[in-house]
Each structure stands twice: as C-alpha cells, then as structure tokens.
Assembly symmetry: C2
Homo-oligomer: 303 residues x 2
C-alpha cells in the first residue's frame, strides 16, 4: 500500500462522494472573489465526503498561478473544519504544479488532484517525473487525474501501477467506466488500499455498484444533497433506489453529454440563485435555446 493513503491519518478525501463545483467567473473569465466560498459551504452542509476545488469543472486550466492560489485559499478558509478539500494542481509545467501543491498543503488542503496537462505529447517517464516532483513538494495524498479528453494523455494500467508505487500517490480518478470488469483489472494491478474512483457522472453509480471507492462528481458541486442520496444508495447496493433516483438525473446527464458539464454548471449557477458565472472565452455559454431544457433538468432533480 502506498504510504500516501495514511499520510493524512485518513483517506476520506479519496473515498465516497466528492463534489467538484465551478469556479464562478466574470465576463472576462476571471474568478469572482467571494463566490467560491458559498459553494463549498453548501457541499459541507449536505455532508459530502470531500470537495474538489479547481478540477476541470473548476476551470483550473484557464487561471493564472496567482488566481489559482487566491481561489484555493478562499475555498480552504470556507471548508476548514467542515469538509476535506482536494486541490487540483495540474499544470503544463512541473515547477508550477509543485508550487501549487506546496501552497495547497500550507493552507490546509486534504489532498491533491494531479492531471498531466500536455501541449507537446508526454511520455510515461515524463508523467512519472511530474508525479515524483509533486509528491516531493508535500505530504498530501495525490489522486491521479485520468482524463484523456482534456489532458490528451492516456494512462495505461501499467503506468497507473508505476505511479501507485511513488510516495504519496494514493488514488486515481478514472474517466467514464468502460465496463464492470475494468475495476477488477485495476484492483489486480494496483496496491491494496489504493483508492479507485470515477468521474463522468452518468456512469458513476454503475461504478460504485461495481465496487469503486469514490465518485468525483460535477453534479455534487451544484446539487450536493440529491447527488449524495444517489451516491449513498449506490454505495449501499440498493439498485432499485439507484434506478429511481437516476431517472431524476437523466435530463441533467443528457445535457452534460451534449454540452459538457463545464458549460452546464456555469449556466445553472445564475438561475439557481447561486452566482452569475460564465465559462472563459472563447468557450461559449450554453445557448439560450437550451436554457429551458436546463431549467427542466434542474427541477427534475428535486422532483
């Protein structure tokens, strides 16, 4: 077992339901000061297992190093004593990722989410270098962020196993579950106690029912209560209850698949009375003619 899973005395931050909210942004694409804290408090109040700040939905890739530190500090202040925070520290440059990791540790984060962002394609050895460098920067457990759609890096199971042997590497956040056999294959390749979690919300109760340790959820960042009910039903193996609750989320999943969860959550924040927000240009907000469908999806979740 990797040393990391015990580094914080607990690994709650890489098990159960983690909510990944947007970082609210203004018309110029800059973070709105004071707007992330209320989103963190909602997740804490709902009882989520952890909050993920500055993941893909949190727009980390679009912010400067200083902006990322400001947003994370605000989130950690709001979370302190209420909910563990996982900080996204991926960057094109290893030195920046390491600085962000130190900043996160110094300000009370419970874990790190590390994506191998790429421009020039990365080799497996280069990705190992990145995880080693960030692992050396703090004692926080690191979750491997496996998201080929955005990072353009594809992890082999062999590489995940190499990374799991590095200090502090304690968990993986997988993309959409391929099939139930995938989790068993990962368990075979990875150390005992290594936490296997999933993203792409519409496949995640299937992943929990198949034995995954965590659901890294965009929906839980915006709808923490209903998403937690769904996650707990899946963790309890209650397939009937999962099916019943999944029906309420299906209109949202449909929008996530069509427009990307990033655009959908920015579009939902205003109508939900949380905060104005829009994705940074050149990313466009959700088209006006889809707002009615979004409103119906939001209502269905609470139905």
């Amino acid at each position: 077992m990797s040393s990391a899973s015990t580094a914080g005395g607990s690994d709650r931050q890489v098990r159960g339901l983690s909510g990944f909210p947007i970082t609210p942004m203004d018309a110029e694409g800059d973070p709105i000061l004071g707007a992330i804290a209320p989103l963190i408090r909602r997740m804490a109040d709902a009882g989520l297992d952890s909050a993920g700040v500055l993941g893909s939905t949190g727009g980390y890739a679009y912010l400067t190093e200083d902006q990322r530190k400001t947003v994370l500090s605000e989130a950690l202040d709001a979370a302190q004593g209420h909910i563990p925070v996982i900080a996204g520290v991926g960057a094109l440059r290893a030195d920046m990722a390491a600085r962000l990791a130190r900043h996160a540790a110094d300000h009370g984060a419970a874990g790190l989410l590390l994506a191998p962002m790429s421009y020039a394609p990365l080799s497996d050895d280069e990705v190992c270098d990145l995880f080693r460098r960030v692992g050396d920067a703090s004692d926080l457990p690191i979750c491997i962020y496996n998201n080929p759609t955005t990072t353009h890096f594809t992890f082999s199971t062999d590489l995940l196993a190499r990374l799991a042997d590095l200090p502090n590497v304690a968990a993986v956040k997988m993309p959409l579950l391929r099939d139930d056999s995938e989790i068993a294959a990962l368990r075979d390749a990875l150390p005992a106690g290594f936490a296997i979690g999933y993203s792409a919300d519409w496949g995640c109760t299937a992943a929990l029912l198949a034995g995954a340790d965590a659901w890294y959820s965009v929906a839980a960042g915006m709808w923490p209560g209903p998403t937690l009910a769904l996650a707990r039903a899946a963790q309890a193996g209650d397939r009937d209850r999962v099916a019943e609750l999944e029906r309420r989320f299906e209109p949202l999943w449909d929008l996530f698949r069509r427009f990307g969860s990033f655009r959908i959550c920015h579009a939902a924040a205003g109508p939900m009375g949380l905060t104005p927000s829009r994705p940074p240009a050149p990313l466009r907000p959700l088209p006006d003619d889809a707002m009615g469908q979004l409103q119906q999806a939001i209502e269905a979740i609470d139905s």
Copy 2:
C-alpha cells in the same frame, strides 16, 4: 482576398521560408534573457523570409503572459529592419491572446500566428470567436495555426474557409502534407491570395513543389542557411537539387519524427555553441544515448 494580406503593405511574412527557433530555457523552464536575439540575427543574416517567435518550438504554451511579452520584445528589437517577425499569440483564453496580439503589434511584429489551444474541447463557433477577437485587437495579418497534435483541435476545410473571411485572417500553417491533392482542395475552398503554408519539416519540400506558399520550418530556426538552400531549390521546382539536399537532412528528420523537433532543437543548441537550453519539465531533454546520433545529423546538414 482577405483584407489582411495587404494590411502590412506586403505579405512576405506568410510566404517563403519562415524559421521557428526555440526559446532558450534554463533548468527551471524559464526563458534565458538575451538568448533569443542571437537566434533571430542568424536567421536575418541567412536571408530567411521571416522569423517565427513563440511557436510550438518556441514553447509559447509553457510561458506566462509576462514571459511571452519579454521574449517577443527582445526578438523584435533584434529583428527590427532585418527580418519580419511572426508572433505566436495562441492561448487558452481569448483575452490573453488578444492582449498578446496588441503587444506584438505595438512592438513591431509583422504578423500573428494563432493556435486554438484547448482544454475543454472547442466548437467551430468558439474558434471563430477566438479569431474574431484577436483580429479586432490589431491590424496585423493572422496565420491560422493548424496543429492537431498539440492544440487538440482539428480544422475542417469548411472552418478554414469561414475563418478566411474574417478581418485580418490571411494565411494558414498546415500540419504534415497528406498528399498533393490537398493543396488544390484548399485553394478551391479559400479566397484567392490566401497563403497556404506547411509545417512538419520532412514533408515541406514536397509541399513547396506541389505549390504551397510557405514553409514554416523548425530546422530553419537552427540551421537557417542550409534550410534556405533547400527551400529555394523547392520553390524553383528543381527536384534533383531538392533530392540531393534532402539526403543531408534525412538524419535530422528521422530524429524529429522519433523525439519531436522541440526536444531535438533544445538538445542541439548547446553542442552547436548557440546557448544552453532544455525543455521545461516534465518534458525531458533528449536522452544521452541519442546525442551521438544528433551530432552526426548536425554534421550531415553541412556535408
């Protein structure tokens, strides 16, 4: 014809041979001050048609906005009156790309190279927004940077035609030539006078022989004289001379294909007596056991 090709009174900067050097970087991945100017002067002395600063080989994606402005200003000071400079202004955020375009125009650049960098995948409409926004920021001609390997955005011919109708969009830099029919298809779709250029050096004399307007060359950034001789032979349609000169470059092309031209040019700069340099971590330098082959490739170019 797009208004852009006449914006500077000439469109030399998007025709002929353009050299794209590295931005020399230190062990931390930060630009070495004073080290880009000599590379610009070598290209001017050799008589290249233009110099491309902060392209993919110039590592633009790995630098902060301030670092990019510093490097470009130094390059433009060295180039002034000697060689036109194309400035790479691609960024994940449209506001940053627009600010870089204004900075480039204010400091004497002759043209802009604009890549649709992406993290969340971009739609065609979003890429049009990006080009419109950067086009509004200055009067400089814009070259569309079509490089799916790094930007993870694939241009359709239809989208290129839409972009060519925007103000200031005057040229395209294509990836490796697929086959000779590609250029004719592009000419059919694009406005008269729109400049069609190619990159991926090992395919570029074939592109010039097939009628391309420009070769955007990594090799010309490091070996401007020999690469210019090769380009001029191809522009003159002298296939025998092209074949003869291509044999000298083949060992270099082989290394480019195996390790990426970015790593190769960083590795070559020291042994050539130009500047120490290495790619920013987590990108690794060329492995030691390939340095002998690189030395032979460098010698072959001048043979």
